[in-house]
Symmetry: C2
Subunit: 383 residues, 2 copies
């Protein structure tokens, strides 16, 4: 795979969109201004009816497909599904991928200068943002891009929660909503894992109450631990068994605390890599946004009532071995939609990769996604 292959979007250049107006957030605080990093793939058609918004998950960002330069070895995080002829076909659609505020890939977040504090990095002073806040900024971006109605809003995991929130908050502004490997809210076990990740970071002496950048420090140990525990929940028990089993790195027990089992080596490596490229405050913000998400909350706990005002078609996809957000969690959304006779398709895809399945080009999954997105193209054909 490279940027010259037939099904790659090729070389892409991120763009920054600046919003110089105050943003009222759900937590009660106001962000004086903000930037959103964006990448687009494909071409917007004349009547702006072929746009698809990609919402990212916990560690995602705007670089969802293609390559940044000719020597780039790694494509965008969802390159398996976005490109010419792929599930989200850039020959047909204009695809917009963003980095949410609070992130650490160029959009305004904890590493950005705080204009209210002499442009020192926000750090822990960056407000806790919610899925609803993100959707609000995504709507502002839509207006900037002159996209009044998205052909589809698509997201996996935390990204699926944003797609769901769009269908509730802006029902007239999307035709299709695709929610993959997601849930209508976290359960106690999900929150518990997030809490372990947060405590790993918060209790790291190098965290310095979140002001590590100003201290020329970094809570590397905490971030590694947070990622390790997260990573376990992204993989299925079966996938780990097949990938590592009880394989030993040196072929025998060493009776010490260096790496003995291959799975230890893998987790340490993943944690280490992640800790180099991710901001600890952003990790905290993302896990809190997950915890807070619960659109049924202001409808006295009724997801059915929360979804009553939606107008789009829905596609829900879950994966058989996903235990972070099990198929039952997707089915909660499906059932709530069915109660109101909303148009919803649902597919539980046989897959071994657990929660991470949504990042893999599993044939039935790709086909389901592609068929759903292209099966309501009337507005585009009329254009």
């Amino acid at each position: 795979m490279s940027f010259t292959s037939d099904d790659s979007v090729g070389l892409v250049t991120p763009q920054k969109f600046s919003f110089e107006q105050p943003l009222q957030l759900e937590c009660g605080r106001v962000l004086p201004r903000f930037d959103i990093m964006v990448e687009t793939y494909g071409t917007l058609n004349a009547d702006h009816s072929n746009a698809i918004l990609i919402c990212h998950a916990l560690s995602g960002h705007h670089h969802a497909a293609g390559y940044h330069h000719a020597e780039d070895k790694k494509a965008g995080w969802w390159d398996s599904c976005i490109g010419p002829g792929k599930a989200i076909d850039t020959n047909i659609f204009f695809v917009v991928a963003i980095n949410n505020i609070g992130g650490c890939h160029g959009s305004t977040g904890p590493t950005s200068p705080n204009p209210e504090n002499g442009n020192r990095p926000y750090g822990p002073d960056f407000p806790l943002v919610t899925v609803r806040d993100w959707v609000k900024t995504q709507k502002m971006l839509s207006e900037r891009l002159e996209i009044n109605i998205w052909h589809a809003i698509v997201g996996g995991s935390l990204g699926g929660m944003q797609a769901l929130q769009w269908s509730i908050d802006y029902p007239d502004h999307l035709h299709n909503c695709v929610i993959i490997a997601s849930a209508p809210k976290l359960n106690a076990q999900n929150i518990a894992f997030n809490e372990v990740a947060r405590q790993s970071i918060l209790s790291d002496p190098d965290f310095h109450h979140g002001r590590y950048l100003e201290q020329d420090s970094y809570p590397k140990r905490g971030l590694i631990l947070a990622r390790m525990v997260g990573h376990i929940t992204y993989l299925s028990e079966e996938a780990m068994k097949q990938k590592f089993g009880r394989d030993l790195k040196s072929g025998k027990f060493m009776y010490g605390f260096d790496v003995e089992f291959q799975v230890e080596s893998y987790l340490r490596y993943q944690g280490e890599q992640f800790s180099r490229n991710f901001d600890a405050n952003t990790y905290l913000i993302m896990t809190k946004a997950l915890d807070y998400f619960d659109p049924a909350r202001e409808f006295e706990g009724s997801l059915t009532d929360a979804l009553a005002q939606t107008k789009c078609r829905f596609l829900l996809i879950s994966f058989t071995t996903d235990w972070r957000f099990s198929p039952a969690r997707s089915q909660e959304i499906v059932n709530a939609l069915i109660t109101h006779h909303k148009p919803v398709s649902y597919m539980d895809i046989e897959a071994e990769q657990g929660h991470d399945s949504f990042l893999f080009p599993i044939p039935l999954y790709v086909k389901t996604l592609r068929n759903f997105l292209t099966s309501s193209l009337q507005p585009i054909h009329e254009a």
Copy 2:
């Protein structure tokens, strides 16, 4: 419940058994001498045929039942199952509970004086011990107690692994083997969770390469994190949902990193409590013993072959919502025993408490355990 209730073993006094001979360990090292802390409940009969050995799990010890003093609020860790008229009936049986070496409750372990280092605490110099090492020391204790054949050896989780190892290593010295909520070996996911717990401790700056006692320090943060992540795996998703759901401590979102959800409060409290009473080096040792356990390993991976030489009756018990050691893991042992026509009973108990179920007096579980233990009492009746 108190020490005066009818079904309590009442006040108990721990005893220390000292072994002043060198102990060859599986890792290749030798322990010059060791102590084992023991509690006993009930009365040993004349022909010493009514003895039951209780093997403990990761954080367990010799105080399995009863109370240490009149004001003691908390009974031993398995008081729900050990006592007059209970599943392990002290009116019938002489019950022996121990603390394994490497532990931190009085048996020789990392906090004990190291005679080879001027009696400074062993700390990280305490050798990594295995399930087989523990079983070897338990056999030595049996000889000291003049118990040639145990009526039963019983254990849950890591304790069940010790019972299983007994049946292989000393087939002539137990009549019954009871393995509860256990597994024939850890899988990659189990090892991964243990590795997160270990890295939490090892990366805590207060760990001081394991010499924290000499530094008047303590890796409290690491131990809290290790326990938090462990605790999640002990509870079922359903139990957490029922116990905490998404309940908020203050009734509303606070948009900060203090406790918001009840489940966070619970986990932090559990971690905090645990960190006060447990030694970090012991935690490391226990998780490694779990990782190493794999009796099939020296039989080219064949559990069936490993169990060929066993002579006792087996009872396997699993719990429907246990995802740390799922029912399928118990069934691996059952199936291996059936292949060799070994006498094995198996019960998968409907229970909501996940892995922790083995600590609860669930009626069908208690009845199953009691019936199995009392259904082969001929030797006792003949006495």
